[in-house]
Symmetry: none
Amino acid sequence: MAESQEKEQPRRRQARGERRIAQLLEAAASVFCTTGYTAASTNAIAREAGVSPGTLYQFFPNKEAIAIELGDRLMHEMRDTFGEALAPVDPATPLEEAVGAAVDRFIAFNCDHPVFFALMHGPDIPGHMAEEHDALHATLLARIEGLLSSLLPDARPVDLGRTAHMCLGLYKAGLELVLAHEGAERDAYVRELKNVLIRYLEPLAAGRPGPARDSGAEATGVR
Amino acid sequence: MAESQEKEQPRRRQARGERRIAQLLEAAASVFCTTGYTAASTNAIAREAGVSPGTLYQFFPNKEAIAIELGDRLMHEMRDTFGEALAPVDPATPLEEAVGAAVDRFIAFNCDHPVFFALMHGPDIPGHMAEEHDALHATLLARIEGLLSSLLPDARPVDLGRTAHMCLGLYKAGLELVLAHEGAERDAYVRELKNVLIRYLEPLAAGRPGPARDSGAEATGVR
Amino acid sequence: MAESQEKEQPRRRQARGERRIAQLLEAAASVFCTTGYTAASTNAIAREAGVSPGTLYQFFPNKEAIAIELGDRLMHEMRDTFGEALAPVDPATPLEEAVGAAVDRFIAFNCDHPVFFALMHGPDIPGHMAEEHDALHATLLARIEGLLSSLLPDARPVDLGRTAHMCLGLYKAGLELVLAHEGAERDAYVRELKNVLIRYLEPLAAGRPGPARDSGAEATGVR
Amino acid sequence: MAESQEKEQPRRRQARGERRIAQLLEAAASVFCTTGYTAASTNAIAREAGVSPGTLYQFFPNKEAIAIELGDRLMHEMRDTFGEALAPVDPATPLEEAVGAAVDRFIAFNCDHPVFFALMHGPDIPGHMAEEHDALHATLLARIEGLLSSLLPDARPVDLGRTAHMCLGLYKAGLELVLAHEGAERDAYVRELKNVLIRYLEPLAAGRPGPARDSGAEATGVR
DNA sequence: GATGAATGAGGATTCATTCAT
DNA sequence: TATGAATGAATCCTCATTCAT
């Protein structure tokens, strides 16, 4: 009996801590979304979480750590949702379909976790990626690269990296527009984003099955 | 004596004022580039300009106004450099060439005026475009729309607007990558950016002369 | 069963408590040494001791109490090491020897217990001795006075007190220099410190045997 | 007329700034004296000076800078008061007199500028002299060394340095006691301090005229 | 006893902006 | 115009201490 207490009491306390951390991260997510990462203040996060500033610092050494942890959790959530390869790509899947599905998933994930965008949203000083965003960015990049390597099996590693960078950039740009609109217009932007990516990748996916690629059908386009 | 003062001094004062403004804007450009717009402090701008904070506020009511004016001047400079339509597009010019030239010009302009990127570089809070960037953004958009309307004469206005938004977004994304690299790698990113835009616009430019568009040549792509 | 608990558990608890206290004091000593008393934080002490802040406050009402208890233990340790009178002074011992031995012992004690210096090291606000240091200080003073009273049997009590104050001050000053150096230089400072004290006390030790003191010239002293 | 304005207006503003600086330093001195350097807060200093925290930071980049500037001014004031050599030492002056005079001057200076003591009052962590105190300390040391070199012309440089360190330490220790008392008791401590220094230095001042130094007994000294 | 979460006032410092000169 | 001093709220972060478990 004493033993069970000694084992459970800490657990309960830890549980409380975990809850606080979750609560703080949620609050941080909310604040990051409304004010942006840079302008977000730790006090504001604490206030949003309904705790004192000191409490926040019991769990996170600084603002950056919050962003990093948030990014980490997001990435894990992504892995849990998408599986390791972001999308299991059957070589027989047409490029169009594969890209479309990936974009849809990404966007859905973003809608579920709006901070994702806020964190992904690059550095204040172009070229100076801060550590917080860096990890997230790198992970995303790796995932995209993984996806691409199965989509474009013939590409050279260097090109693959560049292509991944491009895809991420394009996706972020498109996402911004998607999120800025609603309803039919949003859907239209989603289509555009898909088109951009598909058409960008198409010529790189040499041996892949395309959408009825035997004729000049592209004139009608992917729309 | 008093009369001559009243006539000449204003002129001199205006001239001095213009110089001050130019000086301040130059300083602001420099600071925006190094620290980013958000982190830039008015005091830092004044210091960089070699004047006192008070002087800065004699010419600009607040930080935002500086960015706006800077954006305005940039747009004027752009007009002076590019002409009204961003690029006079001869309907006979192949899309590839037209887009390539436009991108090259844009990038060159950016290299001449690095602030441009800093200002263009979106809002801190995704979706909430601040007034400073807004004007710049709108102007850019209009210019791109103008360019597109001659490139894609058959497109509907709504689609044109969306396409312009997309192009601007894609361009910004690409530019970020271009500026983040140097030498051959930078060139490679420039090519990629062009490819993205060309291939995105290609199917929309129905009646345009494309690059040997009569066969399934796209497999080899625009590269 | 309940009885045996009531008899044995308290003992065990007290034992545990003592261990905790010792543990905490050790940790406090370590922290005081590295950061100084003022800058030492109770949280840091608890962390160093491997316990939670709450536990610390179960044994000490506040930071000051830790310092006081630490000082107390130090004084007891000193008594155990040195005996009641700091040094049993045989009236036949030459002053030089007596002082030299006392200084050596003090310094040795300091090297064994570096906190001693940290605690002894005066108040932040000159003239306002805080309670923590006060007790330590008073005890030290009493011990030195005791030592002096056998060294200088003819001195008046008032003078004795003043002399003790001086000696303690001089010792602290010297110790600081001693600890700030190493090797031969440290030894040199030890010699200097001894010289200072010996020569300061010499003229006050009227009837004492001095070192080859062939003329009574110093008896009139510099006073 | 316009010219005189352009020359005088800045001067007036600078004068205001100078006044503020003096005011802030005065406030800092006061706060340092009452709470000690470490515990002194910049906000408290600003409050004491009757200005906002921001104003303080217009003139000093941080707390340390205030202490440094304060120390600098103190050293200059000292130089102005004492002259370059701290005390012009006529080789014929008896050691006793020379030391007595120097101590009197030092103490008088301290009474005029109580911060002096607060700043002189060493580092929180023994052995880790902070920059603020360091400069002051070094200057004082140099001055004492200068004084000693004329008092003890035969000493080796290494010994001189050590002796200077000792003297400063002893002086600080004595001063603390002096300031802790008043009236006759204070005077008594002053005498003791002088005695300590004189008797410490006496054997080192070989060829000097001493007080009724009829036998060369001290030459063998306690060393 | 022990834990560790919680507090909240206070620390240094910054910054957009205003104002007297 | 130009100056630079002045503001004060807001920033991030710390710490002695308390409290529920």
